[in-house]
C-alpha cells in the first residue's frame, strides 16, 4: 500500500520516514508546547506578583504548577533535543538515515499522541495537580478520585514509550551507521552526548514505567504499593521516581552540552578544547548520573551511610561537569570569536549553567540541603540548569542550524534582541528566587501573606517573566519572518566543522549523494583548511544519478500503530466504555504491527 504515496502535501508528512522531516515535526511540536508551558508559567507568576492575590484559585495553581513542569520536561526539552538528534545525527555521522526509519516515525507519532492525551485533561477539567514528580500518597485514589492523576500517569507512560523506542534507534544508529573512517573518537561531540543520552534513556525509562504501572494498579485494582495501610511504602515511589528522575536531568542537559560544544568551536574558529576529555566527562556524567538519585531525598531520613555515600557521589559528579566548563572556556580562549545570536546563547549557557551547577553543589551537602528542601532556592537552582542551561543551549542550536534546515538565515537583530530580553528576564525571574528560598518561601504555594519580606523579589520575578515572554514572542516572529524574508543561506554559512555543512541547505532527501569518508575529527574543516590555517578548495558533492539512490518507502503503519497504542492508554481515562476503547486500541495495535512487519520497507 505504501508504494506510490505522494512526496508533497499532508499525506507525505503523515507517512514520512525521513529523519529530517521527523526532526522538523519534533521541533514544531515541542515549540508549540513551549508556548503552552510558557503560558502556564506566566499565569503562575501573575498570581504570585503580589501577596494575597486572587487571580487564580489554589486548585488551578496546583494544576498549572504540575503541567508546567511536566510539559517543559517531557513535551519541550526532551522532544526539542530529539528534534536535534533526528535532524543532525545522521548528517553528522555521514549516514543516509537512521537505522530504523519507520521506528523513528513511530516514536514521533507516539510522542505527539501521548502529549495530546496528557493535555486533553484541560478539556475535561481534570488537570493533574500532584506536582511533576507526583509524590505518593497524593496519587492514591482517596486523595485524587477524579481521572486527573490517570491523565498524568498515562501521558507520561505513552511519551516515555516514544523515548524508549527512539533511544534504541539512535543508539544503534550512532554505533552502527557511521561513515567510513569515523571511529568513535572522531565523532562530533554532539553525537557523543547524544549517545550517552540514549544510554541514560533506555536504562532509566523502564524504572519509571514500572513505577507508573504500580500507581495505575494502586488506583485501578486496589493494590497497595504506595499505601502504608496495606503494607506499602510512600518512600518507595520517591526511590523509583528519582532512579529515573536523576538520569532524566542529564538526559535534559547532555544534548544541550553537545550543541553548545559544536557552536563554540565553530564561532571561536578553533577545535573543541580537550575533545577526548569532553567525551570521557560525558560518559562519567552518564555513569555517575545513576548513582546520585537519593540526593533528592535527604530529608526522608535515609540513615547516615546512605546519606554520606549519595552526598559524596553528588560532589563527585561536579568534577566531570567542571572539566567541561573549563574546556568550553578554553575553546573560546584565543579564538576569533564571532558574536552571533547562536554563540551568545551558547556562551550564556556556560555562564548560567555554572550558576546552576554551583547551587547544585551546595545541595550535595545534606546539611545545607535540609534547609533548602522544597524552598524557592531549589526552584532557582533547577531553572538555572534547565532553563538557563538546557533551553538556552537549545535556542542556540536553533539559531545555528536554522539555515541548514530551511535554507534561510535567521534575523540577527531580532535574534540578539530576543537573547538580551531572555538574559535579563531570566535572571530577573530566577536570581531573586535564591533570596526568596533562603528567606523561607516554600515552593508550590499559590499565595502568601504580605508581611514576610517576600513582596519585592516576587514582583521582580514576575516582571522578569513578562520580559522573557516578550523575548519568546520575538523568537516566533523571527522564525516566521526569516522563513519568508530571511537571507538565503549557503551550504556552509558559519564556516562549520562537521559533515552537515558539506551538503546543500536544506539537504536533499537522500542526504549525501555519495556517503562521505572521514579521516579525522572535524574532517570537513580540514577539507577547507590545512592544519596551519591555509585555505583549501573543498571538494564538491559529486553529481550522481538520484534515481539510483534507494530511499526507504513511506508508510502509514507508524501513525496507525501509535494511534492504537494511545487508544489503549486512553481507555484508562474514560469512565464509560473505557474497556471498549482499550480493546479497539489493542486490535489496531496488533493489526498495524502485522501490517508493518509484512510491508516492504
Amino acid at each position: 500500500m505504501a508504494k506510490n504515496l505522494p512526496k508533497t502535501g499532508l499525506i507525505s508528512w503523515l507517512t514520512t520516514v525521513d529523519h529530517k522531516r521527523i526532526g522538523i515535526m519534533y521541533a514544531l511540536g515541542s515549540l508549540f508546547f513551549l508556548i503552552v508551558g510558557g503560558i502556564d508559567a506566566i499565569l503562575m507568576r501573575t498570581q504570585l506578583m503580589v501577596p494575597n492575590s486572587t487571580f487564580l484559585s489554589g486548585e488551578t495553581y496546583n494544576g498549572l504548577v504540575t503541567m508546567h513542569g511536566t510539559t517543559m520536561i517531557f513535551l519541550v526539552i526532551m522532544p526539542l533535543s530529539a528534534a536535534f538528534f533526528n535532524y543532525l545525527v545522521p548528517l553528522q555521522i555521514g549516514a543516509p538515515d537512521v537505522a530504523f526509519p519507520r521506528l523513528n516515525a513511530l516514536s514521533f507519532w507516539i510522542w505527539l499522541f501521548g502529549s495530546l492525551l496528557l493535555n486533553t485533561s484541560y478539556l475535561v477539567q481534570q488537570v493533574p495537580s500532584v506536582g511533576w514528580f507526583a509524590y505518593a500518597n497524593l496519587t492514591q485514589k482517596q486523595f485524587n478520585p477524579t481521572h486527573s492523576v490517570d491523565f498524568w500517569i498515562l501521558g507520561v507512560q505513552v511519551v516515555g514509550l516514544a523515548s524508549l523506542i527512539a533511544s534504541i534507534n539512535f543508539f544503534v544508529t550512532i554505533v552502527n551507521m557511521r561513515a567510513k573512517g569515523m571511529t568513535l573518537l572522531k565523532m562530533p561531540l554532539f553525537v557523543w552526548t547524544t549517545l550517552v543520552t540514549q544510554v541514560l534513556l533506555f536504562l532509566s525509562l523502564p524504572v519509571i514505567t514500572v513505577a507508573l504501572v504500580m500507581i495505575s494498579f494502586d488506583r485501578t485494582f486496589g493494590t497497595g504499593f504506595f499505601n502504608p495501610g496495606l503494607g506499602g511504602q510512600v518512600v518507595m515511589w520517591q526511590h523509583l521516581f528519582w532512579i529515573f528522575g536523576h538520569p532524566e536531568v542529564y538526559i535534559l542537559i547532555l544534548p544541550a552540552m553537545g550543541i553548545v560544544s559544536e557552536i563554540l568551536a565553530t564561532f571561536a574558529r578553533k577545535p573543541l578544547f580537550g575533545y577526548t576529555v569532553m567525551v570521557y566527562s560525558s560518559c562519567a556524567i552518564g555513569f555517575l548520573g545513576f548513582a546520585v538519585w537519593a540526593h533528592h531525598m535527604f530529608t526522608t531520613g535515609l540513615g547516615p551511610w546512605a546519606t554520606a555515600l549519595f552526598s559524596a557521589a553528588t560532589m563527585l559528579i561536579a568534577v566531570p561537569t567542571g572539566v567541561k566548563i573549563f574546556n568550553w572556556i578554553s575553546t573560546l580562549w584565543g579564538g576569533q570569536i564571532r558574536f552571533t545570536t547562536a554563540s551568545l546563547f551558547a556562551i550564556s549557557f556556560v555562564a548560567m549553567f555554572t550558576f546552576g551547577g554551583l547551587s547544585g553543589i551546595m545541595h550535595s551537602s545534606p546539611v545545607i540541603d535540609t534547609q533548602h528542601q522544597a524552598s524557592y532556592f531549589v526552584v532557582a537552582h533547577f531553572h538555572y540548569v534547565l532553563y538557563g542551561g538546557a533551553v538556552m543551549g537549545l535556542f542556540g542550536g536553533i539559531y545555528y542550524w536554522f539555515p541548514k534546515v530551511t535554507g534561510r538565515m535567521m534575523n540577527e537583530f531580532i535574534g540578539k534582541t530576543q537573547f538580551w530580553l531572555y538574559m535579563i528576564g531570566f535572571n530577573l525571574t530566577f536570581f531573586p528566587m535564591h533570596f526568596l528560598g533562603l528567606e523561607g518561601m516554600p515552593r508550590r504555594i499559590y499565595t502568601y501573606a504580605g508581611d514576610q519580606n517576600w513582596n519585592f523579589w516576587n514582583l521582580c520575578a514576575t516582571l522578569g517573566a513578562y520580559i522573557t515572554a516578550v523575548g519568546g514572542a520575538l523568537f516566533f516572529i523571527n522564525m516566521l519572518y526569516s522563513m519568508i524574508w530571511g537571507a538565503k543561506a549557503s551550504a556552509d554559512p558559519w564556516d562549520g566543522r562537521t559533515l552537515e555543512w558539506s551538503i546543500a541547505s536544506p539537504p536533499p532527501e537522500y542526504n549525501f549523494a555519495k556517503l562521505p569518508e572521514v579521516s579525522q575529527l572535524d574532517d570537513w574543516w580540514y577539507k577547507k583548511y590545512t592544519h596551519d590555517g591555509k585555505r583549501l578548495t573543498p571538494p564538491q558533492q559529486p553529481v550522481v544519478d538520484i534515481s539510483s539512490i534507494h530511499l526507504p518507502n513511506q508508510s502509514f503503519w507508524p501513525i496507525f500503530l501509535a494511534g492504537g497504542i494511545t487508544m489503549i492508554a486512553t481507555g484508562f481515562v474514560v469512565s464509560a466504555n473505557g474497556v471498549m476503547i482499550s480493546l479497539i486500541g489493542v486490535a489496531l495495535t496488533v493489526a498495524s504491527t502485522y501490517g508493518w512487519a509484512y510491508e516492504e520497507p
Binding site: A99, F100, P101, R102, L103, L164, I168, N169, F171, V172, V175, N176, M177, R178, M182, F202, L203, S204, L205, P206, V207, T209, V210, A211, V213, M214, F217, F221, G222, T223, G224, F225, L230, G231, G232, Q233, M236, L240, I243, H550, P552, Y594, A597, Y598, P601
Partner: protein, 197 residues
C-alpha cells in the same frame, strides 16, 4: 519484514536489528531488575496472609521451569536448521518453541488460578501478592509476545516455504526468547527457591 535488509555495511558488522535487540535487552534488565527488587522489598511486608510459603507449589514450578528451558534448546535448533535451510526441521523446532511457550503459559494459568481460587490470594489481597503478580505477570506477558512472534515466523514459513529462510529475523527472535528464559531462571531462584533459604 525487515527494516534494513538492504545489507547496509554497518560500522560494527553486527546487523542493525540484532544490535537493537541487545539494546532492548539491556533496557529490559532494568525493567525486570526493578520488578524483582520491588518483590524482594515487599514480600515480607504483608499485613495479612497468605505468605509465599503458604502458596508456592515448587514441584509444578520446577516442571514449568524445565519446560521453558527446553523451549530455549528448541530455539537453538530452530535457528540452526534455518541457517542450514532445512525447511522441515526448521518448522518442527519452531513449532516446539511455540509449544514450549504455550505449555509454560498453561502452567502459569494453573498457578494463578490455584492461588486465586484455592488460596484466596487475589491481586490486591496483600502486598506480597501484588508484587508477585506484577513480576510474574510481566514475565508471562513477555512469553506471550514471544509465542506470538514465533508463531508468526512459523506461519510465514509455512506460507512462503523454501523462499523464506530469514535467519536474521529468527536470530533476533531467538535472542529475545533466550533473554525471557534467563529472566525466568532468575525469577525461579529469587522468588521460588529463596523461600527455602
Amino acid at each position: 519484514m525487515s527494516e534494513s535488509a538492504h545489507h547496509f555495511q554497518t560500522s560494527t558488522n553486527i546487523e542493525n536489528r540484532k544490535f537493537a535487540m541487545w539494546v532492548l535487552i539491556a533496557s529490559e534488565c532494568f525493567l525486570f531488575g526493578t520488578l524483582i527488587a520491588n518483590y524482594l522489598i515487599n514480600k515480607g511486608r504483608s499485613i495479612a496472609g497468605p505468605t509465599p510459603q503458604d502458596v508456592y507449589e515448587i514441584d509444578i514450578t520446577t516442571l514449568s521451569t524445565f519446560d521453558l528451558l527446553m523451549s530455549s534448546v528448541a530455539m537453538v535448533l530452530a535457528l540452526h536448521y534455518c541457517k542450514e535451510k532445512d525447511l522441515r526441521k526448521f518448522q518442527f523446532w519452531t513449532f516446539m518453541v511455540v509449544l514450549g511457550g504455550l505449555i509454560f503459559l498453561g502452567f502459569q494459568y494453573h498457578e494463578f488460578s490455584t492461588f486465586v481460587l484455592k488460596e484466596g490470594l487475589g491481586l490486591s489481597t496483600n502486598i506480597f501478592a501484588s508484587s508477585f503478580y506484577l513480576l510474574t505477570g510481566c514475565h508471562g506477558a513477555h512469553v506471550t509476545v514471544g509465542v506470538l512472534w514465533m508463531s508468526s515466523i512459523l506461519v510465514t514459513s509455512l506460507i512462503k516455504g523454501k523462499e523464506w529462510f530469514n535467519s536474521d529475523i529468527v536470530e533476533v527472535a531467538g535472542l529475545y526468547w533466550h533473554f525471557v528464559d534467563v529472566v525466568w531462571i532468575i525469577i525461579f531462584t529469587v522468588v521460588y527457591l529463596f523461600v527455602y533459604v
